[in-house]
Every structure is written in C-alpha cells, then in structure tokens.
C-alpha cells in the first residue's frame, strides 16, 4: 500500500494571544507545530503500513521552515517526505492549496500507485476543513471526512471500511480505493517516537519540490490561483463587560441586584419569564 499524508505547519493557537492595548494578534514567540489532527493521520498511516506493508509518504506545502514538521513525520514513522516550497505557492487559499497538493499526490502516484490519502479534519489556524474535500475532488476518489476509526482495509478487493462522525451519531461506510480520509482526533493516538527514528529524522535530507518539478500550472498556484481575498483582519470586538455584584455570606442582595440589572430590559423579562 502507498499511503500519503498531507501535513500543515500551524502556530500553536492555544498560545496565540491578543495584545489588549493595541487589540492585535501577538504572533511573535508562538511556537509552530504539526497540526494536531495531521499527527493523528500520520499515526494511522503508519499503523496501516505495519499491517499491510508498503510505504508512507508525507508532504507539506509551506515556507522552508515547514520542513520541521516533516522531521516530526519521519520520527513518527513516515518513510519519505517532501517539502513543497516555491514563492509561487505563497498566499494560496484552499482552492490553490488543494491544487498544489493534488499535483504532489499525482507525482507520488507516479512513484508507486497511491491507495490512500490522509488529511487532518481541519487545520487549527485556517480552520476551513476545505482542503481535504478539494484534493479528493481533484483526484476523483472516495471522500471520507470526519473519520473516527478505520475498521479495515482490503488492498486486494480495493475497499476500505471506516467509522465516521455524523452530527448526531456515526455511520460505518464501505468505500472503494483510492480514498481520501480526514481524521478526527480520536482516530488514533500518536505513539512516542523511538530514539533511532528521532535520530534518523534529525539527520534526514528533506527534498524540496517546486512548481516546475510537479508540472504545475502557475496560473492556478498561490495568490494568483486563489479566488478568495482577505480584505481585513481584526480582533473580535470585545463586548463592554456588564455590572458585577459581590455575593458574600448573604447572597440575597447581590442576586436581587443582579436580576434587577438583567431584567431591566422589559421585553427580555417578558419573553423569558412568561412561558
């Protein structure tokens, strides 16, 4: 089996803070990490290779320093990694991103036919969850989003069965290969890296593919190939905090004043209390 993982480097959003004075985002000093959903995808890919043999390839599109997450992927057990990096890729929205990733999958398919592509459910920075469906559509393969479990893969019969999350439950689907999966966090728990794989990952040469080496149409790449434009970015308007009431030993006064403040708006009181 040839399994391809698509990985994105993201800022650790849990650490992103807003400067309360200027109301801007403080990016400096925030660590860049492998998107947590993608880490799960790598683990799942490695498990399938352990069961069925074959090869796990991992690629990311990003600036040169994104190679750090490819080293993470090697440490987690990926066999080969490629960094897709080219000035022409910069400023891509999901349409251009999925085109670039599709060209990379095509090139990998030329090395050895690709059976499965694994993505994260979403990237924790861009948050769109659109890249996976975009790549699957371009490949014309089965699209299996919100995967929670891979039940089995049958490479001979060219089928896969997975459990996927629905709004109010789940379903098990049996679909044909090749397929593209997007991973929920519960899909697999990433293992701890072994020392040899860690050393190998640190020493590895990371090959780089640019637009030409993938035969990509430059009109469809990066900012040029992106229909969406970011007009402005701002911090959510902080709401003026309302009044606060201190409840000590006897809370009746605080509660009474608080409810008074809450129900000052008569329409609101009417709607809420008369049912």
């Amino acid at each position: 089996m040839h399994i391809v993982c698509l990985l994105k480097q993201v800022p650790d959003t849990a650490e992103v803070r807003i400067d309360p004075e200027t109301n801007t985002l403080i990016r400096a000093g925030v660590e860049s990490i492998l998107n947590p959903y993608d880490m799960v995808a790598v683990e799942q890919a490695v498990r399938l290779r352990e069961q069925h043999g074959g090869m796990v390839s991992a690629v990311t599109m990003g600036p040169p320093q994104a190679e750090a997450i490819l080293r993470d992927a090697l440490a987690l057990g990926a066999d080969q990694v490629y960094l897709l990096s080219d000035r022409a890729f910069a400023g891509a929205d999901t349409l251009a991103t999925s085109y670039t990733l599709f060209k990379a999958v095509q090139k990998l398919d030329g090395q050895q036919a690709v059976d499965l592509v694994l993505c994260g459910k979403q990237a924790i920075d861009g948050d769109t969850a659109q890249t996976g469906p975009g790549v699957a559509t371009r490949m014309g393969c089965s699209q299996l989003t919100y995967c929670q479990e891979v039940d089995w893969v049958d490479p001979k019969a060219r089928t896969i069965q997975i459990k996927r999350k629905l709004r109010d439950g789940f379903e098990r689907l049996r679909a044909g290969l090749p397929a593209l999966l997007t991973a929920e966090l519960e899909l697999a728990t990433p293992r701890r890296c072994s020392l040899p794989s860690l050393i190998r990952s640190l020493q590895a040469e990371i090959p780089v593919w640019d637009a030409d080496s993938m035969g990509a149409d430059r009109e469809l790449l990066g900012l040029k190939g992106s229909p969406t434009w970011v007009q402005a970015i701002f911090s959510p308007q902080p709401k003026e905090p309302g009044p606060q009431f201190q409840a000590g030993e006897d809370s009746s006064r605080a509660v009474s004043e608080a409810l008074e403040a809450l129900f000052r708006d008569e329409d609101f009181a009417e709607k809420l209390l008369k049912h």
Binding site: P11, V16, T24, L25, R27, A28, G29, V30, R87, A90, G91, T94, L95, D125, G126, D127, T128, A129, Q130, P133, G134, A136, T137, S142, Q143, L144, T145, Q161, R167, D168, G169, F170, R172, L173, R174, L223, P227, T228, W229, Q231, A232, F234, S235, P236, P238, K239, P241, G242, Q244, F245, Q246, A247, S251, A254, V255, A258, L259, F263, L272, L273
Partner: protein
C-alpha cells in the same frame, strides 16, 4: 523611513502585527519578502525597490511604508487587464442561493436561517432568493422553502439522492448551480455542508469562505463580504471573492436569523432533471443515531444553565437542573465536565462542542476560555457566576455575580420563582 544602500526608501514589516499570511510574499515583484523562522514576514532591504505593493495588500496593516495607498479597498487590487477578463467571468450570475440541507424529513433550521439572511442580501442587491433542494421525496419541503422566503426553488428529486453521499450530492449540486448560475451560494457550516461545499467549489473553480459568522454586501462593489473567525476564534477575517462565481460561503448554524414563515407566500418550484450516472458509491454498513429520546439537543433551548469545572459535583448538578427546569431550559457544560463523563458529550458547549445562542446563558463555575467563548457569543444575555473576579467570562457577561455557586444558585432559584409569580 529607512533607506537601503541604493537610496531607495524601503518598506518595513512590524513583526508583532504580522500574522504570516504570506500575501505580501506573493505580491512582491522582486521577491524581497520571505517568512522568517518565527513565521513572520521579513523584507530584504537590498532587494526592495520601494514599490509599496506589500503595504497595499497586507490585511492587518503590518507593513509600514510612506507611499502606502488604497489599502484594504474592496476590489482595488486587480490590474486593469485582469479586470476585463474577470468581468466576463462574473457576468450572467444572478440571485442569492441557499442550499437547503435536510434534517430527517424536514428542512434543517440552518437552511431557514440562511434563507432569512439571503432575503436581506437580496433586498440590497435587488435580486431574488433561490433555493436548491436535493432529495428523494421532498416536494413539501420545497413549499416550506417558499414560505420561509425563497422566490424560486430548484427541486431535484431522485431515488439516488435519498441518502447523503459526498459523490452523488456533489455531482448533483454542481450541475444545478452550473445551470441556474446564482451570484452567491450559501450553505450551512454543518457536517454535511462542510463536506459538500468543498466539492462544489472545487468543481466550479470558485472561492469558498468557511464558517462565516457575518455576511454583508459592500456598497461600492456589490460584492459579498464574508467574515469568519480564524486562529481558534482569536481573530476575525473579512474575505471576498471578486473574479469568480458563485461567491460561496458556509455559515455557522444559529448565527443568522430566520425570517417570518408565511405559508401564503408565493414562489416558483422548478423541477430539475438529473441523469444519475454515478457508480461505486460507498455502501452504508451501519448508521447509528446517538441522540436517544431522553437526550437533549442543547442548541434548541431558550435558556442554558452551563456547568463548568467549578460547579459539576453531586451537590451542584441538581441545583443547576432545578434552575434550568424553572426557566424552561436545559443544563449544558464545558469541556472538562464532558471529558470526565459527568455529563454526556452532546451537552458540551464550545469550539469542539456545540455553538449555542440561547436567550439566556448562565455560566456557573465556567472560566470562559476562548474555545468556550466563541460558541456563546450569539447569546442574547450572558450571566456568569464565579468565585474569581478575574475569570475571563466576566469580560463578556452582561451580569456577573462574584461568589460561591452553592450560595448564589439557591438564592437565584428562589428569587426567579418570586419574579415569575408576580
């Protein structure tokens, strides 16, 4: 203004404002900008020719450059030549369309919310509201769509569409949109909507903005402005799609308001044909709905009493339930409470739980982490009960009560009851 050795005034990037979007990297005609190790853009002053393009395009104003002009103006970014090409590409598209997602055998709430929003947008653009409805037996729902505000509903009924599959729905909706050509297409940012929108946008080769919380029309250009939270809710981005059609967006449930339902409203229902040629659809082996009869959908209640880690023991939960019952509401919770199994996952509010917009949200022992706050901002009123006057939730609360829930909540139950009597 700093100058380089050739005496050119160069642009400068303010590192603590840059969000690393790489737009300037792509726009710089001489390739003078790159992202550095910290993911922040950096200009090589020796390469810079002082054109000021980066300052024009940076969405957060992180580039300081004296000659900066026309920043952030919608539609100002394209060259004339490209403009002509683009005008051709966008002509002939008309109407505000909504994909009507089904919820069992009726239309989903999010569909009617979007129709409500589409009506507003259509008034501004003086155009019609279009519904796209796919399914196997849904004529009744088409009439509902008219009642909620659609002027015309394109109905595609086919046995092959009785169940949602990415491939069949993707193919069918792509064809419908391609035939009808609306200028805008809105879909719910639900499991299904997000699965489907990416397919349709890719097939139609157009832009798609995810998970929007605000939509409006730009007065000058008539373009749809789509605003969405990113970076885990820490920042908002306003996005537009100038040269491709339709302008597509997924919209979070419960942020838009449905209009008034009028069963007498008139509208056209157009039946559409579809050659069902798809083979090799996945097979559903098992389908389990985990919402059993006694489980509650917290997004449906006008009042939510939300248990945080500071109020989720045996003593507090009955109190919270009593308060919720009194107000005709339900008990919901924060992530740690769901994670420890005290309340089921369906009751979790937040980025990884449900987005809610009740009339009244009462957070008890909830600190108000960003991942929680993003999902409650649509609430009409927020009350927070917390022992810690520094708790973040107080920043967005309409009323805060600083104190121990064990004292505050029984008192609140008592006084609410009195108010309801009078």
């Amino acid at each position: 203004m700093p100058k380089n050795s050739k005496g050119i005034e160069v642009a400068e990037i303010l590192p603590d404002q840059c969000i690393g979007c790489q737009i300037c990297v792509a726009e710089c005609p001489v390739g003078a900008i790159e992202l550095n190790e910290e993911g922040v853009a950096e200009i090589d002053p020796e390469l810079c020719v002082g054109c000021g393009k980066c300052a024009d395009v940076c969405p957060v104003g992180a580039v300081s450059f004296q000659k900066a002009k026309a920043k952030g103006k919608v539609g100002a970014k394209r060259k004339e030549k490209e403009k002509e090409k683009a005008e051709e590409a966008v002509s002939g598209y008309e109407g505000m369309a909504v994909f009507i997602e089904l919820d069992g055998d009726k239309g989903g709430d999010v569909a009617w919310e979007l129709v409500g929003k589409a009506r507003e947008l259509a008034e501004v653009r003086q155009t019609k509201v279009i519904g796209f409805l796919l399914g196997s037996d849904c004529r009744e729902i088409a009439r509902e769509a008219v009642a909620w505000g659609c002027d015309e509903v394109h109905l595609l009924e086919h046995p092959g569409l009785s169940q949602y599959f990415s491939a069949s729905y993707g193919e069918a909706l792509t064809q419908l949109v391609d035939r009808v050509r609306p200028e805008v297409l809105l879909m719910g940012a639900t499991h299904q909507g997000r699965d489907l929108a990416g397919i349709v946008a890719t097939r139609l080769n157009t832009g798609l903005t995810a998970d929007c919380t605000e939509l409006s029309i730009d007065e000058d250009s008539g373009l749809l402005l789509m605003t969405r939270p990113t970076f885990g809710g820490n920042i908002m981005a306003t996005i537009y799609c100038e040269n491709y059609r339709p302008q597509m967006s997924t919209v979070r449930p419960r942020v838009m308001q449905a209009g008034d339902r009028d069963p007498e409203r008139e509208g056209a229902i157009r039946e559409q044909e579809w050659e069902f040629t798809l083979q090799g659809l996945p097979r559903v082996v098992e389908s389990v709905s985990e919402v059993s009869a006694e489980e509650v959908d917290i997004s449906q209640y006008p009042v939510l009493v939300v248990a945080g880690k500071g109020a989720c023991d045996e003593q507090s939960l009955p109190l919270l339930q009593e308060l919720a019952d009194l107000l005709g509401g339900a008990v919901a919770c924060s992530r740690p409470v769901a994670e420890s199994g005290i309340l089921p996952y369906e009751r979790q509010v937040g980025q990884t739980g449900k987005t809610v917009a009740p009339k009244l949200y009462i957070g008890v022992g909830v600190s108000g982490a960003i991942q929680h706050r993003v999902a409650i901002q649509g609430s009409e009123k927020i009350v927070a009960v917390n022992t810690d006057p520094e708790a973040a939730i107080l920043q967005i609360a309409d009323v805060g009560i600083i104190g121990d829930y064990a004292r505050v909540i029984p008192e609140m139950i008592k006084q609410m009851r009195e108010r309801m009597r009078s």
